[in-house]
């Protein structure tokens, strides 16, 4: 069933610019049929397996023409595994014993997966093999897997939610995105924000949109309007800078040398969050102290002027570092991650701090270091003592757990600063998994419980003499950044693409005005009311 023209579908907006265009609906992934026996014609099953393998191989070849050299080698290796003769023979034996072609290939892949299991070097290959088996199985049943996005034209992509593999395939033809599930911290939202693609996420009404319909994506209005054009879009507030400097400094989030170089072209005052794990996720062995110091020195010297806040490794079993042993956990968000890794990997964290100190001395930059996933004041103090022993840093911790937020007064005189990661704080405060697309509305930063918790954190930090900042996704929203300043935070750190917008918002108000807006927002009973109040207060200035 479709919507009539003018229908308004509400969701959560990402970005500030509206866009209108034609819907390109991505069908939800159809599930594969369960394993089953064939009807008795083994020859026919073998032929159908052979032809499915060759179609998938052709698809891999097609992908090779569109990617860089490194990826070509990956696809070549995949094709080699797919066309492995022993694998085919193993599958043939399964067909002989009665399984249909798709099931037989999956069983054959599992046979090899078991042979390769238990060796860290093969884990990704096993995942690749299983993915290939799915593709072959899907091919046999004529099921489409993955995205098939047009490369030309202009489309508003509409779908359930998009995984990292999906967003990697976004072509320039994707001018807007609408997701039925997924919240403001979903992968889709983060990618759209960083690539400046207007989006509305968590938009349940979008499930009835059809390909070919025209819609307006109105992120400022948190809505999609069927048949609407840009003239109907909610006007984003024009922030007119009244002073040269924002009321609190706006820093940039970075994770790599490329990010640091790009951030230096913005008006960011230093770096508020340098995610160091990206430097390690692709190495199979621990980089030497010298190599780490070299990478850090390059990034520190390329970063925008101002203090640089470096977060020590934030990895866990869902985001494993290949050379650290991270066993599978039932619930990685609540497992051994961030600073908790010090139990097993103290020397790794020490090496990180030592190499940062070498880089700090070499570049002369002002380096602040902080540890993620801190739950007690004892952990915070342990990190502070370690960091002070190994370098001349300002030291702090991330506030992501409600437990550490409750004991900030115990940290007076022990730390220099704290930085709030609002994405994780929401996840732990609301007991709502960030990765669960169905829980997007709980992760809306305008939720009153989050804003009131932030108010307490800012007040407690102030009382304890700790400088407080916010580096979560919420600090990339200009209106929210004004509220954060009004609550008493001393700095914000935004996605690189949002630094300019956040800076102009924070230059358009006085601290007194920001405080008044924050007070009005704190009284609101729902996320919708809180956001509407902030926007109307800002518009009336």
């Amino acid at each position: 069933m479709g919507h009539s023209a003018g229908a308004v579908l509400s969701g959560l907006g990402v970005g500030l610019s509206p866009i209108a265009g034609e819907v390109y609906k991505v069908a939800p992934h159809t599930s594969l049929p369960a394993r089953a026996k064939h009807a008795g014609d083994a020859q026919k099953e073998k032929a159908s397996l052979r032809s499915a393998i060759s179609s998938v191989a052709q698809h891999l070849e097609h992908l090779m023409t569109k990617v860089d050299q490194t990826s070509v080698e990956i696809f070549e290796a995949l094709k080699m595994l797919l066309e492995d003769e022993d694998l085919f023979e193993t599958a043939t034996a399964e067909i002989e014993s009665g399984w249909n072609a798709g099931s037989a290939f999956e069983i054959a892949v599992e046979t090899f997966a078991e042979l390769l299991a238990g060796d860290a070097a093969f884990e990704e290959r096993i995942a690749d093999l299983r993915d290939l088996a799915k593709r072959v199985h899907a091919e046999i049943f004529g099921i489409k897997l993955g995205l098939d996005i047009p490369e030309t034209g202009k489309y508003i992509l509409v779908g359930d939610d998009f995984s990292p593999a999906d967003t990697a395939q976004f072509t320039p033809a994707v001018i807007g995105v609408v997701t039925i599930k997924g919240g403001p911290t979903s992968h889709t939202a983060i990618i759209c924000r960083s690539r400046s693609i207007p989006a509305v996420v968590s938009c349940a009404g979008a499930k009835d949109l059809q390909s070919g319909e025209r819609v307006l994506v109105d992120p400022v209005g948190d809505r999609v309007v069927v048949g609407g054009d840009v003239s109907l879009a909610t006007q984003s507030i024009e922030f007119v800078a009244k002073s040269a400097d924002p009321i609190i400094p706006v820093r940039a989030n970075i994770g790599s040398l490329e990010d640091a170089i790009a951030a230096a072209t913005t008006s960011a005052n230093g770096v508020g969050l340098f995610r160091t794990e990206l430097l390690y996720l692709s190495s199979t062995t621990a980089p030497s102290l010298e190599a780490q110091a070299q990478s850090y020195a390059e990034i520190l010297s390329a970063s925008p002027e101002g203090p640089l806040v470096v977060r020590t490794i934030d990895a866990g079993s869902d985001k494993p570092v290949p050379f650290l042993d991270m066993p599978h956990e039932e619930n990685p968000a609540l497992g051994v991650r961030g600073f908790r890794l010090i139990q097993e990997h103290r020397s790794f964290i020490e090496d990180q701090l030592k190499s940062l100190e070498i880089a700090r001395e070499k570049t002369g930059r002002e380096v602040w270091v902080m540890a993620p996933m801190i739950s007690t004041s004892a952990e915070a103090i342990e990190f502070a003592e370690l960091a002070r022993k190994l370098g001349r840093f300002k030291v702090g911790v991330m506030v992501e757990t409600p437990s550490v937020a409750a004991v900030l007064s115990d940290l007076a005189g022990k730390l220099d600063f704290i930085s709030v990661g609002t994405n994780d704080l929401s996840q732990y405060l609301f007991a709502a998994d960030r990765m669960n697309a169905a829980l997007g509305t709980l992760l809306n930063p305008w939720q009153p419980a989050l804003i009131r918790t932030l108010a307490n954190i800012a007040a407690e930090s102030d009382a304890a003499g700790l400088s407080s900042g916010v580096c979560g996704e919420s600090a990339s929203d200009p209106a929210f950044a004004v509220v954060l300043a009004g609550l008493g935070f001393k700095s914000v750190s935004s996605s690189r693409s949002q630094v300019g917008a956040v800076r102009s918002a924070l230059s358009s108000v006085t601290l007194e005005q920001a405080r008044a807006i924050a007070q009005a927002v704190l009284k609101q009973p729902t996320a919708e009311d809180a956001k509407a109040t902030a926007l109307s207060e800002l518009a009336s200035l």
Binding site: E76, M80, L81, D84, D86, L116, F122, R125
Partner: protein
């Protein structure tokens, strides 16, 4: 006749997907039957990258390579290329 020689794995990750793929490509192009396996252990056909990976051969291990051919020069060239692939 068959020609046999030893190679040593120098690649720091062992016999992983890339060298296995390179060996298979070479073997298929040669059209010869090539067996590979731990010294004195069970040999597998070198036309299956998965079968070779499943040996889980590690850095520093010695592998035997056996080639069914009368062409001594060709066999030696294949063996020296396999050794190159295993250098990482």
């Amino acid at each position: 006749m068959s020609i046999r020689a030893n190679v040593v794995i120098q690649d720091p990750i062992g016999l992983h997907a890339r060298p296995a793929g390179q060996i298979v490509k070479l073997v298929k192009e040669s059209g010869l039957e090539v067996l590979i396996g731990p010294e004195g252990g069970e040999m597998v056909k070198a036309n299956s990258p998965l079968r070779m990976m499943a040996m889980k051969a590690k850095t520093g291990e010695t592998l035997s390579v056996e080639i069914e051919t009368d062409d001594q020069a060709l066999a030696e060239s294949i063996i020296s290329q396999i050794q190159d692939f295993l250098k990482g």
